[in-house]
């Protein structure tokens, strides 16, 4: 048997902040700030209680969804949302392709690279609702503003992720096609496109899904679609209709999910 050592070793996981005093001060400051902000919110228990009792009534309405009384406008809203989603995704795809190629560092000359990256950054900086407010102000209420919003934000999303895919391609395949004397566009279609196509289709289907959900949100600020219908239902306190709308939306998102996972499996 091995002889046991009498000495005990001590071990503790090293702390992120080494000095114990500093650690205590920092914990204290974080706690103090939390308390301060809580007080500054001026939380009124009265209002919370009132809200709770009111929401009971609303919840009751939510459990009795009413598809019928606003059936027609729900139908119209859904169709409008689907149309917006579809059109915006298609345009987004078409416009994003040149930016994706431009933003791929390995195939793009520097000035075009920076230009494309700038467009992507602008498109990705703003949340859909912010863009929608802008377009509603510029061209007025309705689905047109919605389509422009969704197209614009699709461009940044698709171009960025696709550009990353292009940057990851296997370059030897490109060289091999180049060595046959192929022209630049031929190179793109024979050596690069086959390598990125599956991912591209996957992304496009995913974006379709995102755009449908976003179409509901931007409707609230007046950019058309089911969101506008939903907003109107809330404004009139018709929670049973609102509930019906939400259920339809969940159903559609679920269907979209099934569709996109089906497509992705097919691509493998």
């Amino acid at each position: 048997m091995l002889t046991e050592r009498s000495e005990n070793y001590s071990w503790q996981r090293p702390h992120l902040i080494k000095s114990k005093n500093k650690r205590i001060i920092i914990y204290f400051l974080v706690l103090a700030y939390l308390i301060f902000t809580f007080i500054s919110l001026e939380i009124d228990p009265q209002r919370i209680l009132l809200g709770l009792s009111r929401s009971q009534k609303y919840f009751a309405d939510f459990f009795r969804p009413d598809f019928i009384s606003r059936g027609e406008s729900i139908m119209d809203g859904i169709i409008e949302s689907l149309t917006m989603t579809y059109v915006a995704t298609i345009f987004g795809i078409i416009i994003s392709i040149p930016f994706a190629f431009g933003a791929a560092e390995n195939i793009s000359p520097k000035p075009i690279y920076f230009l494309s990256r700038a467009v992507i950054v602008i498109s990705r900086s703003f949340q859909e609702v912010v863009i929608a407010i802008f377009f509603v102000v510029v061209i007025g209420f309705g689905p047109m503003a919605g389509v422009l919003t969704l197209t614009f934000s699709s461009i940044g999303f698709l171009a960025k992720l696709l550009a990353e895919e292009i940057e990851d391609i296997d370059w030897s395949q490109v060289e091999a096609v180049k060595a046959t004397g192929a022209s630049w566009p031929q190179l793109m279609t024979y050596a690069i496109l086959p390598q990125i196509l599956p991912r591209f289709i996957g992304l496009a289907v995913y974006r379709l899904d995102i755009n449908f959900r976003a179409s509901a949100v931007i409707g609230v600020v007046g950019a058309g679609g089911i969101g506008t219908t939903l907003n109107a239902a809330f404004d009139r306190y018709e929670f049973d209709s609102a509930s019906a709308i939400l259920i339809v939306m969940i159903a559609i998102v679920l269907l979209g999910e099934l569709f996109s996972s089906f497509i992705r499996k097919k691509l493998k």
Partner: protein, 282 residues
């Protein structure tokens, strides 16, 4: 047909990969380029079709200096140079047929290529090549579903369908098992002879080179240090190419090699090959 004068290549990092290469290749002449890793073999081959731009010197192919060509002229010239790669470099997601036909891209308009509308003559030639290479059952398989040997045969077909005058081959057998390696080497040299193509074949396997090729070019540190027949490879010449080593196991069995396939003791050859490989890796 190919004449290289005083070719230099310095990579941006400062690596001097080629230092004054002079080389002439006649029509139909096949040469193997051997040399240690980093000698500049790949760089030499890539300078010829300008996948790599050389820094000085001339590469004259059929009376034209490749380095002086415009982009358009270069594309036309590239059609005349077929390239075969070590890792096959097939477009993985395209079918065997598409990969072979991509060798014709230099002759095709963009729209025909995009729509895969290849001329009947090209399709016929692709069929013939694939049949000859034993791949006619795999026409519509995706390239990434093939074995290494099959992929390299697709690579050969893609190079040959260009109807090139010159084959540039960069370590065609390095990723293959010994038997497949021999098959591939035989196919490349056989088909180049039939078509009277000049060929430059980079290869690490000296025994394989000796067996299939009548001219050996040895490179070391960016220079050509040996240029002769396989029979001239001996202890001293191998030392000039690869550096000092115990080359005693490497006997020049020229008679045996020139005797036809069947008579060889393959096991013995493989043993020697392994010994050589073990001793040449630093």
């Amino acid at each position: 047909m190919l004449k290289i004068n005083n070719l230099h290549k310095q990579y941006p990092g400062g690596d001097l990969a080629l230092e004054g290469i002079n080389l002439e290749l006649k029509k139909g002449e096949i040469a193997a380029v051997i040399g240690p890793s980093g000698a500049g073999k790949s760089t030499l081959i890539r300078c010829i079709n300008r996948l790599v731009e050389s820094t000085a010197g001339e590469i004259i192919l059929e009376d034209q200096d490749i380095n002086q060509l415009s982009k358009k002229e270069l594309k036309e010239k590239r059609r005349k140079m077929g390239m075969i790669f070590q890792e096959y470099a097939l477009v993985e997601r395209l079918t065997v047929m598409e990969n072979v036909l991509s060798g014709r891209l230099g002759y095709l308009s963009f729209w025909r290529a995009w729509l895969r509308r290849f001329p009947q003559k090209d399709i016929n030639q692709a069929y013939q090549l694939l049949e000859r290479l034993g791949l006619k059952d795999h026409l519509n398989k995706r390239a990434d579903h093939l074995s290494g040997g099959q992929r390299q045969r697709v690579g050969i077909a893609r190079a040959l369908i260009q109807n090139p005058d010159l084959l540039l081959v960069d370590e065609p057998t390095a990723s293959l098992d010994p038997k497949t390696a021999r098959q591939i080497m035989r196919l490349i040299t056989e088909m180049a002879r039939e078509r009277e193509l000049a060929a430059l074949i980079n290869i690490h396997d000296v025994l394989l080179a000796r067996e299939y090729v009548s001219r050996i070019i040895g490179m070391r540190k960016g220079k050509i240090v040996f240029d002769g027949s396989p029979a001239d490879l001996n202890k001293e010449t191998l030392t000039t190419i690869y550096g000092k080593e115990d080359w005693n196991n490497f006997k020049n069995k020229d008679q045996e090699n020139s005797a036809s396939e069947g008579g060889n003791d393959l096991a013995d050859r493989e043993k020697r090959k392994l010994q050589l490989a073990a001793s040449s890796s630093n």
